[in-house]
Symmetry: D2
């Protein structure tokens, strides 16, 4: 089975997030990794587009019980029908999780990925989590570029 | 996106079920359809083996939150972590559902597929459901052979 | 913790099913058991009404992510948001499962209850499951009246 | 139906979190609100203990498919069997969500509650979420005491 990488990010994202997502998709496809994502718009659509353009495989793990609203670049659509509970399905299915940009849904995926444990979680942009003392909560890996995001997963060391 | 067909069946199955599942997998791959299955042993493993041998794509929608016990012929593994609730994910993701053999888990998938509605559900072997008067409950399509099972989905009419 | 009994049945049910459901609810409340049900109309509403009228506690495990359409007699509503996958939540939460009437959704609950194993599953009316030889598949308990349904759970032996 | 309040927090929590959780449970029971929680140890056990001691009703929405490990103070246990995906069930079921303390699982509940939208989310202790500029991401309500946490839900204004 190929390496699977879950890529999470907002529907409503910045131009930077879009560019990052597309490039992450392209690079993952180039490595032969399967992209697992949420299957709709924004970061999800961009990572799918990037991977598809590079000949890669993209699985959209949809919240809906049908494929309505699913992006055009998915290779496979899993219509979970379990709503936002599907966020845990996305992060459970990756050998690594790359998080691009910030939103509440995206934060839930980041947190569920860390709750799962045992898998690298890399952030590219987005929000930071700090404790009561103002210190960043440890456990996440940070990247400034798509290439660095892949490198920091450690999957190809 | 390719046609997706969900194939359901028992872990503990008959020799006939095994043969049917392998051939259904082979035929679906030959048609370019993606196979969605439960990803473990028995009918799930056979349909995956049949599809993989014919160069097809097989998605295992696992009950576990990791890939432990996942079959060797899966192209992609979705580690849902939602237990038997994943049965509804399997049947929601197909353009048709083919049910091979009988077990309680398999029956739940058949019933969830009919509950979903709007999608052909074809049975190859397995159990029958009758009402209080002893009449077969309508709504299912029956097939005696793998080729007939594909034909009765109507997907390639 | 009180005994919990899951009661499953169709939205669209017969007059007999309605009467059975209301009486099962009343009897369960009289025994001090918590009723777990799907929380909407038909058998779900009747069992809730029967239990509520007798001062019992009823939990509606809803498919929706909000309480829209939830019945008026629920004590507590769990808004799962996981669609029909919530059927497995209902049957996992009972010390016994009582199934009243027949529908595809109801059949999925019966089958998931048997797939779970280790818990009595009692049918009052509804469909029968037969194997290829036409013999009833073993493992279910049958009752003709609400009182018999409770008795056949064995919970109060 | 009574008001339902979801209370989330870590298994491994601080002494302050424990005290806060027990008092939040006591206060919610005093208001007649049903407490919805994760049903295991730490903050979950304390809020259940506080509510139970005050005669309240506590629902444990368990990740497991059985009641193993469920706390002793639950009134009702919902054995979802859907793993951490049950976090979305917890937050969907509350008229408000109170988050006590910080952990990755807890953060996922906070984020899912905000993703759901339309429901007050109050934090008592725990982590903070900041954007790239270091500013706190808006949308959460903060409290320093259990009484203030209830007040800030606005449910009893």
């Amino acid at each position: 089975m190929a390496i699977q990488v879950s890529v999470c990010g907002p529907r409503d994202c910045t131009a930077d997030d879009r560019g990052h997502a597309r490039e992450v998709g392209r690079l993952l496809a180039g490595r032969g990794a399967v992209v697992i994502c949420g299957g709709y718009t924004g970061v999800m659509a961009e990572v799918a587009a990037g991977a598809a353009a590079a000949g890669g495989t993209v699985v959209g793990v949809l919240s809906r019980a049908d494929r309505e609203g699913a992006g055009p670049d998915l290779t496979i659509a899993i219509a979970t029908g379990i709503g936002e509970a599907r966020n845990s399905v996305i992060v459970n299915s990756g050998d690594a999780v790359i998080v691009i940009g910030g939103s509440w849904g995206t934060l839930s995926e980041l947190a569920l990925a860390k709750r799962r444990g045992g898998v690298p979680v890399v952030q590219l942009g987005g929000w930071r989590i700090v404790d009561a003392a103002g210190d960043v909560v440890p456990g996440l890996r940070y990247a400034d570029t798509p290439a660095e995001a892949l490198a920091r997963t450690g999957l190809w060391d």
